[in-house]
């Protein structure tokens, strides 16, 4: 009797979680497992995968000059600027927004959030015209007009500028879910905490921020941080969209996501591409865990 009751309970719950668990397993769990398996094989999509042990990983670390010379440093540079940069910017903006009354806040929040709801395919329309390489391009025309440059620059085709443009464009649309979470977090802090803080001798907004605001919203800060890490590594595709080519000109904007697509869908070496995927997943997971350490309340 007891046993059948607990079984019923389990089945009851399964009706509710079942659909999610099935989708989650098929499209998230299994792909990760398959990616890990494929990373130990040679697989050209035509013949069945051949097990080759650690060879892909060894090649990645020892043979792949492009990975070592361009992809890894680019990924590092891009992530360092966009990840922490975008995160600090989101927090700062959320904090500024919390200092003004509700009505104007809603309007300004909308303006600041609106870039993150535009699809990157749609924005290509704007960026390609603004950064267009001839003298009629908006940026070129502006800089020529004020005399900073003397001839038009091929912005998105130039290895020198592509990375900088990628960073600016990505920062521009990095006020997403994490930003909203942090804004909500700040707004929901109990005002009495501040009153108590002032009685205890807090003197200005900076102290208020450090001693009350941040400690009171650590969970939202963590959520924002995890979203920033994931967003950063997902955003890498922008380089290919801007320059219109994979690989990007002289690999200047090549980051790990592009390297995976290059090997997986252009060269059809899916085993090798999977090895790069596995490395990427480990990096994202590791960085998120570091954020966890930084913001965890269990310390």
């Amino acid at each position: 009797m007891r046993w059948s009751k607990s079984l019923r309970r389990e089945l009851d719950a399964m009706i509710f979680v079942g659909p999610f668990v099935v989708m989650f397993t098929i499209f998230i769990v299994i792909p990760v497992i398959v990616a890990i398996y494929l990373s130990f094989t040679y697989f050209n999509t035509v013949q069945a995968p051949v097990f080759i042990g650690l060879k892909n990983y060894v090649n990645l670390l020892t043979q792949d000059n492009i990975f070592m010379m361009y992809v890894l440093p680019n990924t590092f540079k891009f992530s360092l600027l966009v990840g922490p940069g975008g995160y600090i910017l989101s927090f700062w903006l959320a904090w500024l927004l919390a200092q003004i009354p509700r009505r104007s806040r809603s309007l300004l929040t909308l303006a600041i959030y609106s870039p993150s709801m535009t699809a990157s395919v749609a924005m290509a329309v704007v960026w390609l015209v603004v950064f267009s390489g001839d003298a009629a391009g908006y940026l070129n025309n502006f800089l020529l007009g004020i005399g900073i440059i003397s001839e038009p620059i091929q912005w998105t085709q130039s290895p020198k500028y592509l990375m900088a443009i990628m960073v600016v464009v990505t920062l521009w649309n990095s006020m997403g879910v994490g930003f909203l979470a942090m804004l909500a977090g700040i707004l929901n802090i109990n005002p009495e905490l501040y009153e108590a803080g002032y009685i205890d001798g807090i003197k200005n907004r900076l102290q208020e921020l450090w001693y009350i605001t941040i400690p009171s919203m650590k969970p939202q800060m963590l959520f924002g941080a995890v979203m920033a890490v994931v967003g950063t590594f997902q955003a890498g595709d922008i380089g290919v969209q801007l320059s219109g080519a994979n690989p990007t000109p002289q690999y200047a904007g090549q980051v790990m996501v592009n390297h995976i697509q290059d090997y997986g869908f252009i060269r059809y070496d899916m085993g090798y591409a999977s090895a790069v995927s596995a490395v990427l997943l480990v990096i994202v997971y590791g960085l998120s865990k570091i954020c966890w350490r930084l913001f965890s309340e269990k310390d």
């Binding site: 979680v17 659909p19 990760v32 609106s114 804004l183 969970p219 997902q234």
Partner: protein, 291 residues
């Protein structure tokens, strides 16, 4: 309250000390929306203004000709643009509806029902928050292909239904509902389904609205499923059609206005939905904390 001169967080009224915050915020907001304003302006430019040298930011004689051309002229393919738009609307509608239902049911179970695998599922979902779909595009393709979803409308929909962030936000929101409320309903003889429908759903509307927005953005802006899973042109979506309009755009000045018009069609639904649901989104996000 008048003796308390400290925190100005979430103030009720305007105060002169807020001016410096306004200055920063307005400057940044202008910077943020400038590209979007440009998109509007570009989409309304008649062809002679697109060719203007030096180029101008704002439109002088706005016209709707670009929208007209977008609908009537099929420049890249023989398929009318409305077909792609139709596909996008169907796909997005299905993804939004189904992902809300699936996430809400799972969120309720993970928060309020007691069962053995609960801990494991929740932990797995937390780890999946850190998941980068692009990194497993290859195995995903193999699975979609194996399930017969390539060249099939369902291939746009089914792979997007598991949304770890959606489940997480709903679960956190359901956590706020007092257990007494559920027990009271159970006392009256309500089963899990009745509790879910009559007690939970009405209360978690803000969270559902938030998940709807996120699902909408994911589905509406998605090009990957068209690119990788669909070979038949007529099955592709509007977002994918966009990419064909922007290819080699720098050298096709005349196409820039049409592309901007299409970009606007991509953008405006996102904007409208967010404007309608903004306050509900912030309600939900207040519970988004990770511990």
């Amino acid at each position: 309250m008048s003796s308390f001169q400290g925190s100005k967080i979430n103030p009720a009224t305007f105060n002169r000390s807020q001016i410096k915050f306004y200055l920063f915020l307005i400057a940044l907001a202008v910077f943020m929306i400038m590209p979007i304003v440009f998109m509007f302006s570009q989409s309304l430019k008649p062809i002679n203004e697109l060719f203007l040298y030096p180029p101008r930011f704002f439109v002088d004689n706005p016209s709707l000709k670009n929208f007209y051309d977008l609908i009537n002229v099929t420049s890249v393919t023989v398929i009318p643009m409305t077909r792609f738009l139709f596909n996008s609307i169907v796909v997005t509608g299905a993804v939004v509806f189904l992902s809300i239902v699936i996430s809400a049911m799972a969120g309720f179970a993970l928060s309020k029902l007691k069962f053995k695998s609960k801990g494991v599922i929740f932990e797995a979902n937390i780890i999946a928050l850190m998941f980068v779909p692009a990194s497993v595009a290859i195995p995903r393709y193999l699975i979609v292909d194996g399930l017969g979803l390539t060249d099939n409308m369902l291939g746009h929909i089914i792979p997007l239904l598991a949304m770890p962030v959606g489940l997480f936000l709903i679960k956190q929101f359901v956590d706020q509902i007092p257990n007494d409320l559920i027990e009271a309903a159970a006392m009256d003889g309500a089963g899990n389904f009745t509790v879910f429908r009559k007690v939970i759903i009405p209360v978690i509307m803000p969270a559902l609205a938030t998940v709807a927005i996120l699902a909408f953005q994911t589905a509406w802006n998605n090009t990957e499923t068209s690119e990788i899973y669909m070979n038949t042109e007529t099955l592709r979506t509007f977002a994918f059609y966009m990419t064909t309009l922007t290819g080699n755009l720098e050298n096709k000045v005349a196409g820039q206005g049409i592309a901007a018009a299409a970009a606007l069609i991509m953008f405006v639904p996102n904007l409208i939905i967010f404007v309608i649901m903004q306050s509900r989104v912030l309600d939900t996000m207040a519970h988004s904390g990770l511990k």
